[in-house]
């Protein structure tokens, strides 16, 4: 029987030009057997939501180092909801101050990773987030 692959989107919304972290995570997820749609730098929230829709991903990872996470993440989640993608978990990595984490979780972010998180922990978080929703794959 063909094995169903997990598909994830790794996106970098916002204006900062540092994609090293996002690339490391993309590669780690690929090596863990995920199909990773990687969209590159400077994505708008609209671009992220639209790519997630067309690619029908099982989870979305946002990498944000600019400090704009409290603007960008709610916007992405609102767009996903408007499109009917309420069942797609969102994970956020980057430079996120501890005090912002509860607010992000409040709006539905499944996991938040700071700098120096082990890639294995990130992979496990993606697996857990996908496993705990019923997005029908």
């Amino acid at each position: 029987m063909p094995k169903t692959q997990q598909r994830v989107l790794i996106a970098k919304p916002g204006l900062d030009g540092h994609d090293r972290g996002a690339k490391v995570i993309a590669r780690a997820l690929r090596d863990a057997g995920f199909e990773v749609i990687y969209t590159g730098l400077r994505q708008t929230p609209e671009m992220v939501a639209e790519a997630a829709l067309q690619e029908d991903v099982d989870a979305i990872g946002l990498s944000i180092l600019s400090g704009a996470h409290m603007v960008l993440v709610p916007r992405v989640i609102a767009l996903l909801e408007a499109q009917g993608q309420t069942d797609v978990p969102v994970l956020v990595g980057g430079i996120i101050p501890d005090q912002d984490i509860p607010a992000l979780q409040e709006i539905g972010v499944a996991s938040v990773f700071g700098p120096g998180t082990e890639t294995e922990a990130v992979i496990q978080a993606f697996r857990a987030a996908i496993g705990s929703n019923d997005h029908g794959h």
């Binding site: 063909p2 094995k3 169903t4 692959q5 598909r7 993309a26 590669r27 997820l29 690929r30 090596d31 863990a32 057997g33 995920f34 199909e35 990773v36 749609i37 990687y38 969209t39 590159g40 994505q43 708008t44 609209e46 671009m47 639209e50 790519a51 829709l53 067309q54 690619e55 029908d56 499109q83 009917g84 993608q85 029908g136 794959h137």
Partner: protein, 335 residues
């Protein structure tokens, strides 16, 4: 309303989820394909193939932008894009990065881009690429650009999938002879030298033109379909034009889009479109028949018999061919 009806009515999320079912070879996907198939056959399928780093994604991005900018009777053609990248044979994972070069297309509801991992497909496409293209065709996309894995030599499967195959080369990839390796040139309906602003471009163009002239001695390589009356070759001949583009700057894109439309007109005028349709359906059914037989076999015999046979081949008791023959004979005996 079910996913199929929603997708046919233009619901993009429904289409995206149908494509996943199709790609995953889920029963729901097969059922959907059956319902979608009567709606297919309208789209022009354009394959874009060529080596790694020749700029296929950038070219596809520019082509889609150009096609969307042309309005006829107040509307422009809807463009579907299917971009295939390789899966790792070890982990099954993949990085699908074609969207990086297609960011100009974001926000246009007349465009739908889907990335596919090859999932073991060897001919430059995934096993289910044809089916995904059918879903886009059924849902009203007028022109579908199919970008293959960028291996450069073996992705000839695209020729039995698309109506028009565009082969992309670019200078500076080393050996010019590489460009004219068997198979890849023969499948070209249109040849493109991208990055034509690079120093090595004239040389690449020359060597491709020479290869074309050898391949089509009577047709004068590089002439366009419209020239055919002048060379007396009759309407049955299509000489693949050799075009130069600089995709990063949009140069040569209008001419390339024109050549793609010319090729479609040629296919229709010459009746070759029917031949290609037949060939495409035959190729697809051939593949499905093989897949289905293999699955039936494993269902009937269980994988155990297969792996036992593998052990006997490893022990050099049987050749692979003898082992397979034995497995199949064993299956028919049991029925």
């Amino acid at each position: 309303m079910g996913l199929v009806d929603r997708a046919l009515a233009g619901d993009r999320l429904a289409l995206a989820r149908l494509i996943s079912d199709i790609e995953d070879e889920a029963p729901a996907g097969d059922e959907a394909l059956g319902q979608l198939f009567p709606h297919t056959g309208q789209a022009h399928l354009v394959g874009v193939t060529g080596g790694t780093g020749t700029g296929k994604s950038t070219l596809v991005n520019q082509l889609a932008l150009h096609i969307r900018s042309i309005k006829q009777n107040g509307s422009s053609r809807k463009v579907g894009i299917v971009a295939v990248d390789p899966s790792s044979p070890f982990t099954g994972g993949a990085i699908l990065g074609d969207r990086i070069r297609m960011r100009d297309l974001a926000g246009d509801p007349g465009i739908f881009i889907r990335s596919m991992a090859s999932r073991g497909g060897l001919g430059g496409l995934a096993r289910r690429t044809r089916s995904v293209v059918q879903a886009l065709d059924a849902c009203g996309f007028d022109l579908i650009l199919i970008e293959t894995v960028g291996a450069g030599q073996s992705e000839v499967e695209i020729a039995s999938t698309a109506h028009t195959t565009v082969v992309v080369d670019s200078p500076g990839l080393g050996d010019e002879v590489q460009a004219i390796k068997a198979g890849i040139l023969e499948i070209a309906d249109i040849l493109v030298v991208n990055k034509a602003d690079l120093p090595g471009a004239p040389k690449a163009v020359r060597s491709l033109r020479m290869a074309l002239e050898q391949g089509y001695p009577k047709r004068r390589a590089g002439s366009r379909a419209g020239d055919e009356s002048s060379d007396g070759d009759g309407p049955e001949g299509w000489a693949p034009p050799l075009m130069e583009t600089v995709a990063t700057r949009g140069e040569g894109i209008e001419a390339l889009a024109g050549a793609i439309d010319d090729h479609r007109s040629y296919l229709i005028a010459s009746g070759e479109i029917e031949t290609r349709r037949r060939g495409r359906i035959q190729a697809e059914m051939d593949q499905l028949l093989r897949d289905q037989l293999a699955m039936d076999f494993l269902a009937a015999r269980g994988e155990g018999a297969f792996f036992q046979a593998v052990e006997r081949v490893l022990a050099r008791e049987l050749s692979p061919r003898q082992a397979v023959k034995g497995l199949i004979e064993g299956m028919t005996e049991e029925r």
